[in-house]
């Protein structure tokens, strides 16, 4: 097989007012025909800028030097109109955010048809036929209707399918996928990745897949480039990189991803408990929470949607209990209801001995003190107009208004040390802190009232992998040191498996399955749970290959 694309000494830099930033530094690689190449790296590694520069899509202040030879033509040296004869025709591209990557103002059909009008001589009717056929091929039901419809009528996964169909219209030689599944739920991710593999075979294309997830690479790619801070760290065949990595950085990445991994990922610190103390901190019986859907007109009938639908569960003292589910599963609504931020519509909910029911929205201060929360977005969970000191002082003013000033400051200092910060942070504002530091402050704030129950609502989801591991360590340590009970809401199954004693699986507001973490993960009873677990890509190419074969045989 010959080389489809040969990149030599690719350097991408951005000019800002004060300095020039080097995003990609003398990168060279080759891609053969019909080959799938994965480019992995953490944020800031330059992996996206690499492909954007090849496609001529850099921001205005960016420039690229070096060579990117495609069929012997250096793409970097082409004029815009020359480049337009290649991109969209020979090279197709799909992006991370399928929500915003399609034009919401014109029909899907007209967007797709324009590509064919630009690159082929087909008549209008032939173009439409081809588009509908392609929508059908990528698994979109009722393709004619979608052709005439708009992108906002579709789910995220369906939009990504439309993007793929658009890219395939001209039967390109190369498909570039820039984090194509990062914004999607895991079960949808699985389907999109399988679709990419399937169309690769059908159209005999090469694929470049950009991702931060080593599992995604293990599942789909044949060759791998590892990048860090704009430089190539290592390149090679998939198995070689995963099973005998040469570079230190690759080993580090792999270790991190294996530490938190669905397969064989029991945390040694997780204590073996034979029996739980039967002290129930939270007891939910048939709890439902209903929301009003936005009304269509002033006199339209009220429409309700159940965010939480007849949930029965309990939280036992001293455990870390995980709630997992995909977007729309109601896991966050459930935790907000326990916190008293959301009214119970029906059912019985007893939290720390107090009944929360639909009549009562007021939650006593003493109860508030005993449960605290840490949210997902580290920046938006701290008031940007308050200093760290003011933020940490607030719970003390609320719950311990009789304490002396000096006692308060001692406590703030102690808790900062406990979460791994120090008093130098007190005078700063949240925007001066990193994401991980903000999350530590949020945890410190939650600890100050000395709660019994800590709710972590996707508390580690927005963090980079290395920071995530640190915060998880901190949570586990706090649980052991303080005897905290933690309700851990997450969509990341691997993290849940690592630290949780028990797990609740939710789907569409209902509990699908619950039980001891290991039992649920090793031997899931429900089909939904099985699917959910097997959809998560694992950084183990052999296992992923075997799984894919299983999926294919199941499909046939």
């Amino acid at each position: 097989m010959s080389d489809l694309i040969r990149v030599r000494d690719l350097t991408v830099s951005f000019k800002t007012r004060h300095e020039a930033i080097l995003a990609v530094d003398r990168l060279s690689f080759k891609l053969k025909e019909n080959e799938i190449l994965g480019i992995v790296g953490e944020s800031g590694s330059g992996k996206s800028q690499t492909v954007l520069s090849i496609m001529g899509l850099l921001e205005q202040n960016g420039s690229a030097t070096g060579e990117a030879n495609f069929h012997g033509i250096n793409l970097l040296s082409l004029s815009m109109s020359e480049l337009n004869r290649i991109r969209g025709k020979e090279i197709g591209m799909i992006f991370q955010d399928p929500m915003s990557s399609l034009n919401p103002y014109i029909t899907i059909g007209s967007q797709m048809s324009q590509i064919l009008a630009q690159h082929t001589d087909l008549t209008k009717k032939e173009r439409e036929e081809k588009c509908v056929e392609m929508l059908d091929l990528v698994g979109i039901t009722n393709p004619q209707k979608r052709f005439d419809g708009y992108s906002f009528e579709l789910s995220g996964g369906m939009r990504q399918r439309v993007m793929i169909a658009s890219a395939l219209l001209t039967s390109p030689k190369l498909l570039i996928a820039d984090e194509p599944t990062t914004a999607l739920d895991v079960t949808v991710q699985e389907k999109i990745l399988d679709l990419i593999l399937e169309v690769r075979d059908r159209f005999h294309m090469s694929v470049i897949l950009i991702t931060h997830d080593l599992g995604v690479v293990a599942r789909t790619c044949e060759k791998v480039l590892v990048m860090k801070e704009g430089r190539l760290q290592e390149e090679g065949e998939l198995n070689q990189i995963y099973y005998s990595p040469e570079s230190e950085y690759t080993r580090e990445l792999l270790n991190k991803s294996k530490q938190i991994n669905l397969v064989n990922s029991k945390d040694p610190r997780k204590e073996e408990k034979t029996a739980y103390e039967e002290n129930k901190l939270v007891e939910a019986k048939e709890v439902s929470v209903l929301f009003d859907l936005p009304k269509e007109g002033l006199f339209a009938p009220r429409e309700l949607i159940a965010a939480v639908d007849g949930v029965s569960a309990e939280i036992l003292e001293g455990e870390i209990i995980g709630v997992v589910g995909e977007s729309g599963s109601g896991k966050s609504s459930f935790s907000r209801t326990i916190l008293g931020l959301q009214k119970v519509t029906s059912g019985e909910l007893r939290v720390l001995g107090q009944q929360l029911n639909s009549q009562k929205t007021f939650v006593a201060k003493t109860l508030r003190q005993r449960m605290q929360v840490v949210f997902q977005d580290p920046y938006s969970s701290l008031n940007p107009r308050m200093t760290i000191q003011e933020i940490l002082l607030e719970p003390l003013l609320v719950f311990f208004s009789d304490q002396d000033r000096s006692v308060r400051f001692d406590r703030i200092r102690d808790v900062l040390v406990e979460v791994g910060l120090d008093e130098h942070f007190l005078g700063r504002y949240p925007h001066e802190l990193s994401g991980g530091q903000c999350q530590r402050v949020a945890i410190a704030r939650a600890l100050l009232p000395i709660p019994e129950l800590l709710v972590c609502d996707e508390a580690v989801s927005a963090l980079d992998a290395s920071v995530r591991a640190e915060i998880i360590d901190l949570l586990v340590r706090l649980k052991n040191d303080r005897g905290l009970t933690i309700l851990f809401i997450a969509h990341d199954l691997a993290v849940v498996r690592k630290i949780c004693d028990r797990v609740i699986v939710m789907e569409k507001g209902k509990i699908v399955e619950q039980g001891d973490t290991e039992k649920v993960f090793q031997n899931p009873k429900e089909e939904y749970t099985k699917n959910l677990i097997s959809s998560v890509p694992v950084a183990d190419p052999r296992l992923e290959k075997q799984r894919r074969l299983e999926r294919l045989s199941k499909a046939n």
Binding site: G340, F375, S380, S381, R385, E394, V398
Partner: protein, 289 residues
């Protein structure tokens, strides 16, 4: 350190980076000083007529640097006095509308639900009213008092601010730090004044800067029609009106007040624009949603 300090420093760094806004702020400061101090140093009085110098063009010799009007009054002093009225109307009426708008918008956004939709529907309805004409009606019916101008203009201009503050309140209310405060047992009162209001200040500052020129414009419009400030008081609008009537023979009577008015509006607009780029966290096209 307190939140207003951090806001002030945000605004400061925003303005110092934006050269146009920076220049406008300097020009505006100069203008305010001139308007306040100018009449004090001038040898002429605002209502002092001089029959020997009717409609004289500007000249350095006799101290009438902007010339005189058709009654022989010194145009410089009159322009400065007019400026005092225009700026005062601008600032006072803006404060009235900001007060109404911020309270209305914040309540609507914070309470939410049915109250919110009713309150916003009222704003929608009021939006379609030709208020400027109602103000004129008020002037016609109730006589032309400067107090009425303040109230009337203030009452007209609060709608925009109410909408924007409500939108911003909704955004802040959805932020996780507000939920964290609620879950942390912080009282509603404290949540509003410690968490929501300080985060609204940015947008309020922006819209104060953008409302002042609008208000000055409305006052000038009324005065131009002869329905605003009455003699012996004057304002830039009234002076422009007077000047427009005799621009053929003595154009300076029009040009000086017109220049002051336009430059002031221009500076306020530029400052407001610069502040908005820096402080308005929300993307502008979404304001109406």
């Amino acid at each position: 350190m307190n939140p207003t300090n951090s806001l002030a420093s945000d605004a400061w760094s925003a303005l110092s980076k934006n050269r146009a806004a920076w220049f406008s702020a300097m020009a505006l400061t100069t203008m305010v000083l001139l308007v306040l101090l100018g009449p004090l140093v001038s040898p002429h009085e605002v209502d002092q007529t001089n029959w020997s110098k009717l409609a004289k063009p500007p000249s350095m010799d006799d101290g009438h640097i902007f010339g005189t009007d058709d009654l022989g009054r010194d145009l410089f002093v009159r322009t400065m006095y007019g400026g005092r009225i225009s700026l005062m109307v601008g600032i006072v009426a803006t404060l009235v509308s900001v007060l109404i708008g911020v309270s209305y918008g914040a309540i609507s956004g914070f309470v939410g639900g049915k109250v919110d939709s009713i309150m916003m529907r009222i704003v929608d309805v009021l939006y379609a009213m030709p208020f400027l004409f109602f103000v004129i009606l008020l002037m016609v019916f109730f006589g032309r008092s400067i107090f009425l101008i303040f109230v009337a203009i203030g009452a007209v201009n609060w709608l925009d601010i109410a909408r924007i503050v409500r939108g911003q309140t909704l955004t802040i209310k959805g932020k996780e730090f507000v939920d964290a405060a609620k879950a942390g047992g912080v009282s509603t009162f404290r949540i509003i004044f410690r968490h929501i209001v300080p985060n609204l200040m940015g947008i309020v500052v922006v819209y104060v800067a953008l409302t002042v020129p609008q208000v000055i414009l409305v006052e000038s419009f009324l005065s131009f029609l002869g329905l605003g400030v009455q003699e012996p008081m004057t304002s830039w609008g009234a002076l422009v009106n007077q000047g427009a009537r005799q621009m053929e023979s003595s154009p300076w009577i029009l040009l000086f007040p017109a220049l002051f008015l336009a430059v002031t509006l221009f500076c306020f607009n530029f400052i407001g624009d610069g502040l908005r780029d820096a402080l308005d966290p929300k993307d502008r096209t979404n304001i109406n949603e």
